[in-house]
């Protein structure tokens, strides 16, 4: 069997070698590893050893020939002749020589890359990258029938940046939509394209708030929300948008407020963002939830005793004052577990009972009303609640609340009693099911065992959304809170 010997690679980056001198003639015996030829390359001159025993066959590349690495240079006839030192034991030999044969012919030049990206593969990739949908822009914008206005805040910011006119843009009359770029085509980003497709929106119907009148993603989302809300209002007068609407997107005020009627001597307090935000929320809340209200009187004797006994030690240990608020909060948290429809949200598909209790504590500031949220409040002990609420209150007043502390609440407690009131009807904090007010603790004459006694009494008021709960559930809930407060275990640890 003839074995072909190929030009080896003598040195990295070497691609060819020159046959300098043959050391063997055809017919001469050859031992494995014996040198058979001298080869010269750019880097190295060397003698090439035979890969196998046998007889020298024929010269393929004569002296002087320049041979590319891997190309044949001669053959060796393998015979039964002469078991030399190079032979390995028995059965391995035939296989090793066959391996040798394969190797001699097929030594790959190290430079060759095993996997190459061919033109076909590249073409396939660019095919896949072609966009599947192209929104064909109109060559000239057509005036729409009923354009949707961009909500005030964003337009206001745009104007403020452009020229310092910080006035809120009012909802004026119809204006042309989709202000085109100078070449007459509308510039549409992938996100806008995707949304337009998903919601079946005609982009020419939308007035863009982006640069050059570009329709932005926000514009599309606002448009869709208002379109859907308008549609629903048309079909079912009482229903409202689902609570799962895009968070943070401001709902459109249903009716225009009257223009200011300023007469002589009147003074205008200019509209602020904060005032407007509160106003919008309150109006929306009333329009969304049919508010019902009930109250109970709570005998706070035990709570007062516990507080009096422990407040100094508490303050010394934790550095915060022990008020009535954590007692009420803890009772509320316990009751919410037993009456989950009060820790819930209304949706078109049904009442969503929220798994977690994130308790909002209303904080009245001079210029603002903030409801910091204590997440997973039911995991805290009474002292934990006290500390956490004190911390939230302090940071609320310093305007250092984090984002997840001003949203996501599932129930709100309003300590209106701190302001001195005895009876309050609060407005529900959307999208919650109810809001509890706790009014001032005031010593009153009450009937105890058919006698007159003096007891510290606090009124608990519950404003609740009558869609989720009826009077029965609301009353039971509030009774449960009361019971916990009135039957407080005075010996229990605050921890």
């Amino acid at each position: 069997m003839a074995v072909t010997v190929t030009m080896p690679q003598l040195g990295e980056s070497v691609t060819e070698g020159t046959i300098a001198r043959w050391l063997k003639q055809p017919g001469e015996p050859v031992a494995r590893y014996e040198s058979i030829v001298e080869v010269a390359s750019d880097k190295v001159n060397a003698e090439i050893p035979a890969p196998t025993d046998g007889t020298f066959g024929e010269v393929i590349a004569p002296e002087g020939a320049v041979v590319t690495v891997g190309q044949p240079i001669c053959t060796i006839e393998q015979g039964a002749e002469g078991a030399s030192d190079g032979q390995a034991a028995g059965g391995g030999t035939a296989r090793s020589e066959a391996e040798v044969e394969v190797r001699s012919e097929a030594v790959p030049a190290p430079e060759a890359l095993p996997r190459e990206v061919g033109p076909a593969a590249q073409a396939a990739r660019s095919e896949a990258a072609r966009p599947t949908v192209s929104a064909e822009p109109p060559t000239s914008p057509a005036p729409p029938a009923a354009p949707i206005e961009v909500p005030g805040r964003i337009a206001a910011s745009v104007q403020a940046d452009d020229g310092g006119e910080a006035a809120i843009v009012p909802r004026a009359g119809p204006e042309p939509a989709g202000e085109a770029a100078s070449d007459g085509r509308m510039h549409v980003t992938p996100a806008v394209r995707m949304l337009a497709r998903e919601h079946d929106v005609d982009l020419t119907q939308i007035r863009g708030s982006g640069i050059g009148g570009r329709v932005t993603k926000k514009d599309v989302l606002e448009y869709v929300q208002q379109r859907d809300a308008a549609g629903r209002r048309g079909e079912r007068p009482g229903a409202q948008a689902a609570p799962a609407a895009p968070p943070g997107a401001p709902a459109a005020a249903p009716a225009l407020a009257p223009a200011a009627d300023l007469q002589e001597g009147d003074r205008l307090l200019p509209m602020t963002n904060v005032r407007r935000a509160i106003a919008d929320h309150m109006v929306r809340s009333r329009h969304t939830s049919p508010h019902a209200w009930l109250m109970v009187e709570v005998d706070m004797s035990r709570v007062v005793r516990v507080r009096e006994a422990r407040k100094n030690e508490f303050k010394a240990t934790y550095g915060v004052s022990l008020t009535y608020l954590p007692f009420v909060a803890r009772a509320v948290l316990g009751s919410l577990r037993r009456f989950p429809t009060l820790n819930a949200q209304w949706s078109e598909e049904g009442i969503v009972l929220k798994r977690d209790i994130h308790l909002g504590i209303a904080v009245a500031l001079e210029e603002n009303l903030v409801v910091p949220v204590l997440r997973n409040a039911d995991r805290l002990s009474l002292s934990g609640l006290a500390q956490a609420m004190a911390d939230l209150g302090e940071r609320a007043r310093a305007n250092r609340l984090k984002l997840d502390e001003i949203q996501g609440g599932t129930f709100t407690v309003n300590n209106t009693g701190a302001l001195g009131t005895v009876l309050t009807q609060a407005i529900i904090n959307q999208p919650q099911a109810a809001i509890l007010t706790m009014d001032a603790v005031i010593k009153r004459p009450v009937v105890v065992d058919d006698m007159i006694g003096i007891r510290p009494i606090m009124n608990l008021g519950l404003s609740f959304d009558h869609r989720l709960n009826d009077g029965l559930q609301a009353a039971r809930f509030v009774q449960d809170v009361r019971t916990q407060l009135e039957e407080l275990d005075e010996a229990a640890s605050l921890l």
Binding site: A156, S157, A160, D161, T189, P190, V192, K217, P246, N273
Partner: protein, 327 residues
């Protein structure tokens, strides 16, 4: 929960790990008797002795190379390079040796070491005490690179880095040492390497950043919030490997993306994050992916006006965010 400064949190991580694991050691210039030029290792040599908290000769390649050797022989060294600017003489040991040891031995050897260095500017450190060179290492498979922005993460990431069986570069912003305070939980905890942190939730712009810039970002985001723009701030925390999932999630959610860093902008971490967003979030983009970072000068100069020109402060970041918001 106790409140710590950034530097205290770093020291606490090292102290607690050294108490827990006798293999952990600290090696660097001035770390022993002086306690480090920034006081990061103050008190450690007193507690653990001069072998476990060892003052090195003024030789960065030695600091890293010896640490590599010690790590190969059963220790868990924390090599300290005095300023990230001076890490360059050690780059051969870091990239040729530490990064490749596991790969080149097909898993037979590994180098469980941490290399710590203070980086970043705004402290009048000029060209050679203010640089942000982390991108160079983010390029190298076999390394991990982390940059904490809060004391909580400073401790948690350092503990995780010390326990990691491969080399981790841990860059601490020198301006943050005593100016950033935050809550640090008691007890044993780690922040897993390779995870980003959602520092602020938002939905209009996803702002990806790291290091001291996270705090600048939160300030800028708050300014925009008052005008109704909601900025989501993601603290990358780990620059190699990047938390691709977090990047993609926030980018897709917001549609507008700004990547901000103190380091020079060209061929940087911001470039890589932008590429990831472009590749994986194209259909969700509502604006071009934007970056903001250090300008095309070798490093920040000494004089205050020059340094301020270099740095991306709250005003510049806010302006860029507004520009993007307007698009």
């Amino acid at each position: 929960m106790p409140v710590r400064t950034y530097v205290d949190a770093i020291r606490e991580a090292m102290r607690e790990e050294m108490r827990r694991d006798r293999r952990v050691m600290v090696f660097g210039e001035d770390v022993g008797a002086k306690g480090g030029v920034f006081g990061v290792t103050e008190g450690l040599q007193k507690e653990f002795g001069e072998w476990r908290v060892m003052d090195a000769p003024l030789a960065e390649s030695c600091i890293v190379g010896v640490s590599v050797g010690a790590a190969l022989n059963g220790m868990r060294p924390i090599a300290e390079i005095q300023f990230q600017d001076f890490i360059l003489p050690a780059v051969d040991q870091i990239i040729s040796e530490a990064a490749k040891m596991r790969y080149r031995s097909a898993g037979d050897w590994n180098v469980p070491m941490v290399i710590r260095a203070p980086f970043g500017g705004g402290v009048h450190g000029a060209l050679y005490h203010s640089q942000s060179l982390e991108a160079m290492f983010c390029h190298v498979p076999g390394l991990k690179v982390v940059v904490p922005s809060t004391p909580h993460d400073a401790k948690g990431l350092l503990v995780a880095a010390i326990r990691d069986p491969d080399p981790v570069l841990y860059f601490e912003h020198k301006k943050a040492y005593r100016s950033i305070r935050g809550e640090v939980p008691e007890g044993d905890y780690t922040v897993p390497l390779g995870t980003a942190r959602l520092a602020r939730e938002g939905e209009d712009i996803a702002l990806f950043t790291y290091g001291l810039m996270v705090h600048t970002a939160l300030e800028a985001a708050q300014r925009l919030e008052r005008d109704g723009f909601s900025v989501e701030v993601v603290d990358l925390r780990c620059l190699r490997p990047l938390d691709r999932g977090a990047i993609v999630r926030s980018a897709r959610r917001c549609g507008k993306v700004l990547v901000a860093q103190e380091a020079n902008l060209a061929v940087s971490v911001a470039s890589e994050v932008s590429a990831i967003v472009a590749e994986e979030c194209f259909e969700y983009l509502d604006a071009p992916v934007m970056r903001i970072g250090g300008p095309e000068v070798p490093a920040m100069p000494f004089a205050r006006p020059l340094e301020d020109f270099y740095l991306v402060g709250t005003d510049k970041l806010e302006a860029k965010l507004r520009q993007l918001a307007r698009y």
